[in-house]
């Protein structure tokens, strides 16, 4: 037990990061399950992080109020974003949502209230590792419990064949709106947790680089598998730390590992874990 405590003190930032990245991976995984390549999760995270930080630090709101408001805001933004991009698919949706992410980042960069390029300072450490993992557990449990629900089925069906999905009466537009709103909420949770365990926010924390990372977690994990996404987040967060001894070249190894997994392990971690037919019937 004492050893565990020593380990935790030394690596607790890493442990926090894994938890937050896992939540972010889940926020993308639900979109991918619906076949929706919407890459705005980093932006949703940023929106919630800044709103929570600003309301609590600048306007002295209690966290119990600021946090839900921030998460709700991200969810609403997500739902609203789904409307104009309704007709976009695949790479077009990807780039439009990436563009949205960039716009959000630049807004954060240019506003006074967010601290602009200098960042937002002085956030009290109101949340902790326990909060991160409790949130991850709750979100995970909710997603797991809903995996055989009609909505999850509607998502999978929309991904498989949108026209045939409409043919069985599924309002695919509504599926997309709800999915993106849920992604906003989940990423929003990650944002709030990030703000109050990191004390300091900059717009660059929520830029395309982070979005790329989230994508990597999901693909390594197995695209549509939430469990895989979490595993992917864990692996890809730990890896650069494990290779720290390589200094400048440690990213080389990360990149190589990424390529190896993609080329040689098609279903990602989830694919390696489950036997193929069982996994597919689940998707």
């Amino acid at each position: 037990m004492h050893d565990l405590l020593v380990l935790y003190t030394r690596y607790h930032t890493l442990v926090d990061q894994i938890g937050i990245n896992a939540i972010l991976a889940l926020s993308l995984a639900i979109c991918l399950r619906a076949g929706q390549l919407a890459l705005a999760q980093a932006a949703f995270m940023g929106i919630a992080a800044y709103i929570a930080a600003i309301t609590v630090v600048t306007y002295a709101w209690p966290l119990a109020l600021g946090a839900p408001v921030a998460v709700a805001a991200s969810a609403i933004v997500g739902g609203l974003l789904a409307l104009p991009v309704e007709r976009l698919r695949g790479v077009y949706l990807a780039i439009a949502t990436i563009g949205f992410g960039e716009i959000v980042r630049i807004i954060a960069y240019n506003l006074q209230v967010t601290g602009g390029g200098d960042g937002f300072n002085g956030i009290p450490p109101l949340l902790s590792t326990a909060w991160i993992y409790a949130t991850l557990a709750v979100i995970g449990a909710l997603l797991y419990g809903a995996r055989r629900s009609r909505f999850a089925l509607a998502q999978s069906v929309t991904r498989e064949d949108e026209a045939a999905a409409q043919g069985v009466g599924i309002d695919t537009g509504r599926v997309r709106v709800v999915t993106l709103a849920a992604a906003g909420a989940i990423a929003g949770c990650a944002g709030v947790l990030y703000a109050f365990t990191n004390f300091f926010l900059t717009p660059g924390d929520f830029a395309f680089g982070r979005m790329e990372q989230i994508l990597v977690y999901c693909v390594i994990g197995g695209v549509t598998s939430p469990l895989g996404a979490v595993a992917g987040a864990a692996v890809m967060t730990i890896l650069p730390e494990a290779f720290r001894f390589l200094h400048d070249f440690r990213d080389v190894l990360s990149g190589i590992v990424l390529l190896l997994v993609i080329v040689f392990a098609p279903g990602g971690i989830a694919g390696l874990w489950k036997t193929a037919p069982h996994e597919r019937a689940h998707a």
Binding site: I98, I106, A163, V252, G255
Partner: protein, 264 residues
């Protein structure tokens, strides 16, 4: 044109700039540097295809996975560059850039800028010529249009794709050299700055349409300049992406997009 999103393009862009820089620093003329850089970029492009895309093509992996694969490749390339060249800015020697400024109305530029513009135009025209008037060009367009039909008609798919990557990467490399010259800065993460914009331009123009990409590029460039002039430079990128966003909403397959992705 091959329906893949290639995020490693920017890293090749950067490598080419470094290669040209190294050639010039070793005492050779700029033109030689450009040529060597373009060829090296082309070769690197083929390597990219072999390593990151070809194995995925064989198993029909969809849009997302190749994207990540290209990210992996980009990470490796950028990390190697950073390891070799360090994190600092590198500059082209003064000789290469010297030219007096000229004023034409409200716009100021130097012969150097003109040279870059001319080079860019020449390359675009060369690309257009290759695509329209040569067998390679026709093969590439055939594969882009309908891979299976092209294969049935005897086009060597893998070779054509490899060539497409060579050409695309060589051009990307040229862009890298030109950008490095224009801003007089060659640094390991220079790719990242243009990566998203480049992607946006391609998709905006409609994946698969070169003319569309060119038009998209012009629209983006003009929008950015107008934004900087009339609004403010710190909002430039936001406005550029905002315009792009609006255009995509109005035309979901890009401005000249010929291929609506699997019809809804």
């Amino acid at each position: 044109m091959l329906d893949i999103l290639n995020l490693a393009h920017a890293s090749i862009f950067m490598v080419a700039a470094f290669i040209c820089l190294s050639v010039v620093l070793a005492g050779y003329p700029l033109a030689a540097g450009l040529l060597v850089a373009m060829i090296a970029a082309g070769v690197l492009g083929i390597v990219l295809d072999r390593v990151a895309f070809a194995p995925l093509r064989r198993r029909n992996a969809g849009t997302l996975v190749p994207l990540i694969s290209s990210i992996g490749f980009a990470i490796v390339v950028e990390a190697v560059a950073r390891g070799i060249y360090g994190v600092n800015d590198h500059q082209f020697p003064a000789l290469v850039r010297a030219a007096p400024p000229i004023s034409l109305g409200p716009v100021t530029f130097t012969m150097f800028n003109v040279a870059i513009l001319v080079a860019a135009i020449v390359l675009m025209l060369a690309l257009a010529y290759v695509m329209r008037a040569t067998k390679i060009g026709r093969d590439i367009r055939a594969v882009a249009d309908d891979r299976i039909a092209a294969a049935l008609l005897g086009v060597d798919i893998e070779r054509t794709i490899a060539l497409t990557f060579f050409i695309a990467s060589a051009l990307g490399g040229a862009a890298g050299v030109l950008a490095g010259l224009q801003y007089n800065s060659v640094v390991f993460d220079m790719g990242g700055r243009i990566e998203l914009k480049g992607l946006a331009v391609i998709i905006l123009g409609g994946m698969g349409s070169i003319t569309g990409a060119v038009i998209g590029g012009f629209i983006l460039g003009i929008t950015e300049t107008l934004a900087v002039t009339f609004i403010s430079s710190s909002w430039r990128d936001a406005i550029a992406f905002g315009v792009m966003f609006l255009i995509l909403i109005a035309r979901p397959a890009g401005i000249l997009g010929r291929r609506a992705l699997r019809a809804a």
